[in-house]
């Protein structure tokens, strides 16, 4: 058996924002994709086309992590969680770097 997957608080913390929702609640699974969902898919394609993170490998990780670490997250969030999860695992950036970058983005949003 493989070891338990790593968890990252910076990603798990987002659950408080969206609320717990599993596959069993499939009635929630019909919605217009938000812009961030579509932009995340563009990130996935860009990563795959540059050989950084293959799409199939990512999708398999979405299944694996989506049924373990992120089981309580709605399915539409999985790419957005799993891509940084895999990049953190590969030391492409650190949890601290991600947290800092999120803070920068948040500050930009809050700036009127």
């Amino acid at each position: 058996m493989s070891a338990s997957p790593t968890t990252y608080d910076v990603l798990l913390d987002t659950l408080s924002d969206i609320g717990e929702r599993t596959d069993a609640g499939m009635g929630c699974l019909e919605h217009e994709p938000a812009v961030w969902e579509s932009r995340m898919q563009a990130t996935c394609e860009a990563l795959s086309s540059h050989g950084v993170l293959d799409n199939l490998e990512r999708r398999l990780a979405e299944d694996r992590l989506g049924e373990s670490v992120y089981a309580r997250f709605p399915v539409q969030t999985r790419s957005t969680l799993v891509v940084p999860h895999l990049l953190l695992e590969r030391n492409v950036f650190t949890e601290e770097e991600l947290r800092r970058q999120m803070e920068k983005v948040r500050e930009r949003f809050d700036e009127e």
């Binding site: 069993a24 019909e30 938000a34």
Partner: protein, 239 residues
């Protein structure tokens, strides 16, 4: 611009849907942007690369597939070309599977097959391995299509799953489940419903909804949008 970012909404009672939509955008929008910006900063791809894929994604949707089916319904020669070589026939309605890079996206340049429904055969698509979907003609896949729940159960008990979508097929209609893969994408060409005689291609395209091209619904003369998958909630089993 973003009163929704704090998620508190001054303590008054929001409609549940309103509250969820408002709050879910914030942290995930921030996370998406942060990841994208870090990836660009680290040189994993360029902003231009991202823009190219984002613009492509913005332009695709089920309208592409609707146009294909409507044209095939009124033009038997086109229908034959579509069934013979889906990728090539798509060019006739302005859909180029080689976009946006010249070789497609990393996951979309594949063989595209259109599956014709008949009075005795009903087709439905799935991807059991991951969530392969004919995006150039149908756009982003619905969330339920990507769930292990749909993917596992459709191949095991297709009639049961279809009935949860409200599609009850007679026993003498054969159900064929087509499992997409890295190289093959499928789309269902439903049968033209009664009551649409004399309709224009544009009128016909309106009733060819996404779900009819996945195969979990049938087109009807008075139906122009897909219903929610509420029925799947009560029937859903995790394994």
């Amino acid at each position: 611009m973003n009163a929704h970012h704090d998620g508190h909404h001054d303590g008054h009672h929001e409609a549940p849907g309103e509250f969820q939509i408002a709050t879910k955008v914030s942290e995930f929008e921030i996370l998406e942007l942060a990841v994208r910006e870090l990836a660009i900063e680290k040189g994993l791809f360029s902003a231009e690369d991202h823009r190219k894929f984002a613009e492509w994604a913005d332009g695709i949707g089920p309208h592409g597939g609707s146009k294909l089916v409507a044209k095939a319904w009124v033009d038997p020669d086109f229908k034959q070309r579509l069934l013979a070589d889906g990728t090539k026939a798509c060019l006739e309605v302005g859909i180029d599977w080689l976009q946006p890079t010249g070789v497609g996206t990393p996951s979309d340049y594949t063989f595209f097959y259109v599956l014709e429904n008949t009075p005795k055969v009903h087709n439905v698509i799935v991807c059991t391995l991951c969530s392969c979907y004919p995006r150039p003609v149908l756009g982003m896949s619905p969330d339920w299509y990507r769930t292990p729940n749909y993917r596992r159960r459709l191949v095991r008990r297709p009639r049961e799953v279809l009935s949860e979508f409200g599609l009850h097929l007679p026993p003498d209609v054969e159900v064929r489940v087509h499992d997409s893969n890295q190289k093959s994408r499928f789309m269902v060409m439903p049968m033209r419903p009664e009551g649409t005689e004399g309709w224009s291609e544009e009128q016909l395209a309106e009733i060819v909804t996404r779900d009819t091209m996945i195969g979990v619904a049938l087109p009807e003369a008075n139906r122009t949008s897909d219903t929610k998958t509420e029925t799947l909630v009560s029937g859903a089993r995790r394994r």
